[in-house]
Symmetry: C2
Subunit: 157 residues, 2 copies
């Protein structure tokens, strides 16, 4: 009998919220696969972790840990924006979705995005949005997203 | 001598933060020019106003009031997202920029966007981003923005 989980070697992956101890499990190294992320001291990490935690369910960072290696292999975040439009509606903003280069092809990115979108939905958001490159459009379409607008940016550095 | 402010009939327009009393000055009616915005009760408005105020400088809504008519004629918001990437960097997200249809051509939109971008800069953000339609690309380029990514959306309603 074939193992239907062959691509993930029979492993099951659980999405959970970021914990302070994840810094020592390669969380920052994982983010480096996404963009520039210089070394962060334990103090800086703890301070930022506490700042974000203060928002409670309004700003959630989730991760997937490979229980075998003890490494964080996927992550993403969502924050809930409170508006006046749409009768005081709320919008979820997904940011910084990343899967470790060595853990691709196991649908971990989809798991992360679904976790974040479900969270936004449960918080009463009428929609969830994200910005991505053209190359990632197909991936997000598989997650149930559609292209809508364009993103504009102004850098200060 | 010509009046260089002729387009605005000599009026000067000041950008200030949203106040609770702006509901009675047509703030919700202005937002309706942007998107769906059903009527909001005074209680709902006050509750949402307080929720947003709790974020202090991390979520600012600004407006321009026409001092002659006592009406809010332009608005926009920015919130500051705290990240781990970019060495615990911050990003400003501009949302819901709108100028009253009867007050176009006086650079009020530019004033609003500059106020919001300056705020993000002063809060230590390394960049400020926003999503817009293709039609508004030129306007935001005049405000110093460049097109970067695409926006994807998933609706829950």
């Amino acid at each position: 009998m074939e193992n239907i989980n062959s691509s993930s070697e029979g492993k099951t992956f659980r999405v959970r919220k970021l914990e302070l101890s994840d810094k020592s499990k390669g969380f920052i190294e994982l983010l480096r696969q996404l963009t520039v992320c210089d070394s962060v001291s334990d103090k800086e990490f703890e301070d930022r972790f506490k700042e974000i935690s203060m928002y409670g369910d309004d700003h959630v960072i989730c991760v997937i840990e490979d229980e075998t290696s003890g490494k964080i292999i996927a992550s993403g975040s969502v924050f809930i924006e409170k508006k006046f439009i749409r009768s005081c509606g709320k919008v979820g903003h997904i940011e910084d979705v990343v899967v470790d280069a060595g853990a691709r092809g196991m649908q971990l990115g989809k798991k992360i995005v679904e976790f974040l979108a479900d969270h936004a939905h449960s918080m009463g958001c009428y929609k969830v949005i994200l910005d991505c490159s053209d190359e990632n459009k197909v991936f997000y379409e598989k997650c149930g997203f559609k292209k809508k607008e364009i993103q504009m940016v102004k850098y200060f550095i």
